[in-house]
Symmetry: C2
Subunit: 213 residues, 2 copies
């Protein structure tokens, strides 16, 4: 056996960071945080462990970067629906709620990732900040959609209703990820529209469109 040194190709910083983050997320999704060791991550990304330290100050920083990327991806998936949504406020809200309860937002892998990072989010201030940002961003969008409904509601109840609707949606999102086979096609969006409609006192179910555009 010749002790031949491994061949390699130089890549841009962005490409390498993305590859490492993606490898970390995949490993976490497959086997929990425990499975995402520096060696496993490097192997999955096709590099050697030392390179992680070249692009990140340590494993913790890579973990934080991976979580930020996850949050960003999820919020993007979700808000993209508003670009093609109709103008009618009620239909618009219905589209947003339904999109939050369908793939790719509802996804077993996303749930596992969320759970795996939960403790870090509690503990690490930076991860906590990233989480808060993503959470309030989503809730603000939801609240804006609710505020646009043709009805009268004072700011206080508006905010309370936004929290309530967000809770129902988040909860159903969790259930959909945890028990993918328990729900029939479009059953989750239907439950969500029923519940959110009940909280707001409007009918959203009739505005539900078929499976994503």
């Amino acid at each position: 056996m010749t002790g031949a040194r491994r061949k390699f190709k130089r890549e841009s910083e962005e490409a390498r960071r993305d590859a490492l983050i993606e490898a970390a997320l995949r490993l976490v999704a497959e086997g929990g945080m425990k499975a995402a060791t520096v060696r496993a991550i490097a192997d999955r990304a096709g590099v050697t462990p030392g390179l992680i330290r070249h692009y990140f100050n340590g494993k913790d920083e890579l973990t934080r970067a991976a979580y930020s990327a996850l949050m960003q991806r999820m919020t993007e998936d979700n808000s993209a629906v508003l670009d093609t949504a109709p103008a009618d406020p009620q239909a618009r809200l219905a589209a947003f709620v339904a999109a939050s309860l369908r793939p790719p937002v509802v996804d077993p892998e996303a749930l596992v990732l969320w759970a795996a990072f939960l403790n870090g989010v509690r503990t690490d201030p930076e991860m906590r900040a990233a989480h808060e940002a993503g959470y309030v961003g989503y809730r603000d969008r939801l609240q804006a959609l609710i505020a646009a409904l043709p009805r009268r509601a004072d700011p206080q109840t508006l905010r309370a209703q936004a929290i309530a609707c967000n809770a129902v949606i988040d909860g159903l999102w969790l259930e959909g990820g945890a028990l993918p086979h328990a729900f029939a096609e479009d059953e989750l969006p239907r439950i969500g529209l029923t519940s959110v409609g009940a909280i707001l006192g409007v009918d959203l179910l009739s505005h539900m469109t078929g499976p994503q555009t």
Copy 2:
């Protein structure tokens, strides 16, 4: 320094197993699965690491036992309410739903534990079985309460509605654990009763009782 051997007291098998399980759960709740090492668990339980192997075949078995204990405790907390619940079906269901959305069922620590064990539940067949048992147990109780309501509903929609209500409740349970400060006193039960009532087409909110008996 005298190499004095540590003093110890003999305990019953049950006491030792309980202590080790409790120590493991506390550590997981505080720092995730990663924090629950054999040494840390033994230290927290006031014994030395070797003893874990005396009472469990390995760390995995202790982990499984801890999860089973957790599931058992949670389902007990929840079903205890039915013992003192009123006889009227509607009030009975309302009491059950509300209890599921109040402490001690809703609890940040419980959520963290749930998340920490999620990957193991997916992976390990035994943990999966324990989870399924607890889940269907809860859903069956809920479905029985729904079936007792004075209205007509065929078995198929009954089951679908039970799943939907369960999803809403679970979701709100999650939110309550994740954001303890986001909800006012009894706001979570109120949201839950509103949503479940909407799904079933009955009024549950008027049957809500004050904070737990």
